[in-house]
Subunit: 688 residues, 2 copies
């Protein structure tokens, strides 16, 4: 895409005449190190362009946008054989002073479009003036995002119409874009055309144009404008999260989340598909609900950022196949039964208005590709955030939800599968189970001697045996146990001998503690004697066993297909992945054996992937190609999956598979810092 | 565009084995004369394709569409060195018999996809089986339309999904289109995707796909389908006309017209522009009104044709610049003041739903390009219908409305202008004037001796002095005088000496007839003494003088620019052009001198142009290119226009300019047949 306004042919020589000085001067740019001799009077921006130095501009050298600002570094640089001085640039003219007064020019900086070369100079191009600067990701172990959104702004002056040349407004705009920015073969649409007439006249024939993919004109505003906005949307079956971004800086301006209102039609995915199959209007109701929710969240973030939702020009959306289909108004029914056929497995690029999401009238929506019937655009986004194809090491990436999506591979080869874990890891189908929300037990420790438990609750910093816990937990009290809580509870019960390797609760442990109850020939463990009572039942253990066996079997199946017997690193994506203490996951045999240092949370990788697709144009093509080429493994029809599943039911299902676990199991289980903090520490890559 | 389904590689040899016969046979196609030797057993369709013979097919050789039917001609053809017999084709199989029973196969015809070559044969390809057959135009002197609409149908069988290849429905559809029809690089959109899932399943994985411009998938239906529909819409400032067409045959299935409901916001164009300028919601109201009217007319024609408006996939629209802008939801205000800037002068190709016109959810709308601020898409359509660029002769094409649009030129060069005639020719601003509607006087004769008038009224076959006129005219009576009536009245008044060459009504003629009244120092002529009284006032003569002078001056200006002093033919487009008797137009000096045989009506050329753009894909590109290249002449800023205008005020403004008129003026003005009939006779091209 052209980001360089063409200079009029005469500009190259129309400089400031400086008598008794050499006719050319040396300019050296940092950090690129690019250098060259130019005629005295050459604007710095023009020298940069000729040398291929990456400097941004929206206004095309009209001293309006402030994007091209640079610093002339004072000093003598032997290495560069140059004496650089700010005096070697022309004085600040009116335009620059105006820009300075409006706060667009940082102290000491110059507009490279205005400052002209008078003598040798070293010019520092700050990161914010580079077109493709890096947006720092907070995630550990992640590369930064190169900022190159699909939409860019171009300021142009359009010829006024006259009687002699009865050309349309649009044709004069197109000519200005070609003459000033070398943009040709541009497409446009009615919404843009409808705003063009007033934009041109209100802006006195000066307008700023937003162009998408370098060829689609999506908006035109009167006068100069330098901000464009976009939103990354992660449509989960439980929650929807929106991140509003400044597309010029990459900055996240505001974030908001809400429950997915489709929950009232069905708690989990399959019950929503059933609702659609049983009710003729069902899919339509769920489509309307999720679209309204997204519009509401975008409006909320826009308000936080003090902009209008109508300023949002681009959104990216990710979600599992059922969320993806409902959002698009497609029938999710085929996803409910074999062969689980998607309507499309390609990326979808449409008007946001087609999704009834209220943004700029001409905003576009981009949905990442789904990979297979159970492996959706959310997994594609996780791939994009994790880029397993950039490493030689073999990564296993697990996104735990109602199903677990699994990605395995490296630079050479990538495989994907979905494993039918059911919703137990999300706290569903567990007695006393609940979603991860304030009041839910999320951490559990059990003293192997006394069998007494301690726990922590979401929304409270203290452990249950810390002084003041009852006060801090307040009236709400302990409301249930979430996925990470049940995992730790069962793992600790196993380590304390309350659960046997086959998963049955050991009635004999009842001799050691009154917390072991017997009822109907099965046993249970009383974790919390409050209102409600939180009891780990035999059925809860079985549900977790089934779920973890499915997860483990899926991972094993992929490893078989890839022909490997271990993985180098494991990344756990999603809310579950960021809450769980991986030690306990490994105690239960949820994940294959791996150096604990190499098991970490990928946090909200799906949301991050959506944000990458929003901020970096090339990432879209990359994920589209990767998603098409990835090897899809269908667990449902593979006999080996059944075999692995049966073998993985025990705890730990196969001790020799976990050589590294032996030492851990013998370790005293310390209360330690919160798992989130310790996970954070583990996540840091070791320095070589 | 590919209209040839690819045959499976094996089909070429998978024929019927015929012992004791030669291994190849000769096939000769008529009318093309193409011929070749093919292996016995080759299907006729395949031989046609290999020889480049143009045979249609939707179903791709599956014996479903009946489009490929041909006739085996019996006989011995010495010239072709062939003895042809129906027995030289394989017998009708089940598929053909089924097609025959459903009435898809005409008696004696064969499906070329089924009939296999057994011996030498001559095959006649009827016009209806040719892909690009001609659609006959009723207009005189017009070439037929080559049928090649932008949308074509393709029947395909799509692979069913399976667990092993988790491809989306869309990807399997795309593969089928590529494999069967060689269609690649297809685009699609959400509306199509939303209907695809059910179409595939309801059609048992057989669907018919509508593809536009050879690359846009616009619709998919379950099973086989062979009809697609389109509508051509002429949006006039007074009336809107819709022609519903079968895009497979080119046939007009139904037509409907209605008053343009924008009339309630302003009778003529400039009053509507003023309404938009004075009322913030004005343009929006007029936009909504015209869109609703178009939807209603399409629904009406669909009902007449016994189809659903939802079956209409494509519409073309033409109108003058103000109609064009209001239809698109663009602000018409800039068209009201110099420099009369259009929003765009290019063709507009959008979703019909963007115009809120109720058709197929994915229907597209195509608006022909506007040429200049006063020369609209209706003039572009007239150009397309008249194709002045195909002749060496110089044509002057005049479309009379509130303004007159003028086209002048030939193969070498084309010029366009608009002339500010005002609405007098439409009966507006004339005392007793009205639109051409039942009750309006449309023909006038005045006896040069007695000065007594006779006239005809729209809706009545008789002249006013015929016996029974009063009975036939009925209660409604004579309501006013329309444009053609006022032209003839003034021309006859001039010929009878009631009007002098300078346009003043001759008071002295009052001595010869009581119909000449004097009032306020001006005179008038009583045309009809009824209720209302129809009187030709001095002011009416002045209004027509101004209008005709403007029209004439516009034509002269174009002739000056082109460097010619005469034109070879004149075509009068629009309702006015089809009603007027050109002799009287020439008496008044409305049009330049021209052989009367070469002056004719182009009837509804704008509507015909819209229909051509609907039925023939190449015509769109042609008119887009022609419209861009045509030389636009702005009358408002040309001093010569003023000069011509002043000179053209007299009647006839300059006798030497009309050498041919002299003999006519001296002719007794016979009552003769109705002008429409006589114009019809004149219109017929002389046989060489």
């Amino acid at each position: 895409m052209s980001r360089q306004r063409k200079e009029p042919a005469s500009a190259a020589v129309a400089g400031v005449a400086v008598p008794n000085k050499p006719h050319t001067a040396l300019i050296v740019f940092s950090p690129s190190g690019k250098r060259g001799q130019f005629p005295v009077g050459t604007p710095v921006l023009q020298a940069a362009r000729e040398l291929g130095v990456d400097i941004d501009s929206i206004c095309g050298g009209r001293a309006r946008c402030g994007r091209c600002q640079v610093e002339a570094v004072e000093g003598s640089f032997a290495k560069e054989n140059i004496v650089s001085s700010q005096d070697h640039l022309s004085d600040k003219g009116e335009a620059e002073q105006y820009c300075e007064q409006r706060g667009r020019l940082r102290p000491g900086n110059r507009l490279s479009c205005q400052a002209k070369l008078l003598g040798d100079v070293r010019i520092d191009v700050p990161a914010s003036s580079q077109v493709h600067h890096q947006v720092v990701r907070k995630d550990y172990e992640a590369r930064d995002i190169e900022l190159d959104p699909v939409v860019h702004l171009y300021f142009v002056e359009v010829e006024e119409p006259d009687l002699q040349t009865p050309e349309g407004d649009l044709q004069r705009l197109l000519r200005a874009l070609e003459n000033e920015w070398d943009l040709t073969e541009l497409s446009w649409d009615l919404a843009m055309l409808q705003s063009l007439q007033h934009a041109l006249r209100d802006g006195k024939w000066q307008v700023t144009v937003a162009i998408r993919y370098g060829h689609q004109i999506v908006s035109v505003w009167p006068g100069f404008r330098d901000r464009i906005y976009g939103a990354a949307v992660d449509v989960g079956s439980t929650t929807i999260a929106v991140h509003l971004c400044n597309l010029s800086s990459g900055e996240v301006l505001a974030s908001a989340g809400a429950m997915n209102p489709q929950i009232r039609f069905g708690e989990d995915l399959m019950s929503r598909v059933s609702y659609a199959m049983l009710n003729p209007e069902g899919a339509g109701q769920m489509t309307a609900a999720v679209r309204t929710a997204i519009s509401g969240l975008i409006a909320k973030t826009a308000e936080q950022a003090n902009i209008s939702a109508g300023d949002v020009l681009e959104i990216t959306l990710v979600g599992n196949p059922v969320m993806h289909h409902l959002l698009l108004g497609l029938d999710p029914s085929p996803l409910g039964t074999a062969p689980f056929a998607l309507a499309t497995d390609r990326a979808v690029d449409i008007w946001a208005s087609e999704l009834e999401i209220e943004l700029h009238p001409n905003a576009r929506a981009y949905l990442l590709p789904c990979i297979a019937g159970h492996v959706g655009a959310d997994t594609a986004a996780v791939m994009l955030a994790e880029t397993p194809w950039m490493a030689d090491d073999i990564s296993l990436i697990i996104d735990v939800g109602t199903n677990a999506e699994l990605l395995l591979g490296n630079r050479e080869r990538l495989l994907a599968a979905s494993s039918p874990t059911g919703p137990a890891f999300e706290g569903a189908q567990i007695s006393g189970g609940q979603r991860a929300a304030p009041g839910a037990i999320e951490r559990v420790r059990i003293d192997p001697e006394t069998l007494e438990p301690r726990f922590r609750v979401i929304g409270c910093e203290l452990w249950s045996d810390d002084p003041g816990f009852a006060d801090q937990i307040g009236e709400n009290g302990v409301t249930g146990i979430c996925g990470s809580g049940i995992i730790e509870a069962i793992a600790c019960m196993y380590l304390a001998g309350i659960i046997l390797p086959d998963g049955s609760i050991n009635g004999e442990a009842g001799d050691r503690s009154p917390r072991i109850h017997s009822s109907d020939r099965t046993f249970s463990y009383l974790l919390h004697d409050g209102e409600p009572r939180i009891v780990i039942q035999q059925g809860d253990v079985r549900a977790i066993q089934l779920a973890k066996a499915a997860l483990h079997a899926g991972a094993r199946l992929l490893m078989d297909r890839m022909g490997v017997d271990h993985v180098d690193r494991i990344r756990l994506a999603g809310a579950f992945g960021s809450h769980i203490d991986v030690k306990y996951a490994m105690v239960l045999g949820m994940i294959p054996d791996c150096d604990l240092e190499q098991v970490s949370s990928a946090n909200n990788a799906a949301g991050t992937g959506a944000r990458i697709a929003l901020l970096n144009r090339a990432s879209r093509l990359e994920i589209e190609q990767r998603a098409r080429r990835i090897e899809k493994v269908e667990t449902a029809v593979d006999a080996n999956f059944q075999q692995h599943f049966v073998e993985a039911m025990g705890i730990p299902h196969s001790t020799h598979a976990y050589p590294r676990l032996a030492s851990f199991v013998n370790l005293p289980i310390a209360a330690g810092p919160s798992a989130r903090t310790s996970a954070g520490r583990r996540r840091r890559r070791k320095e070589p």
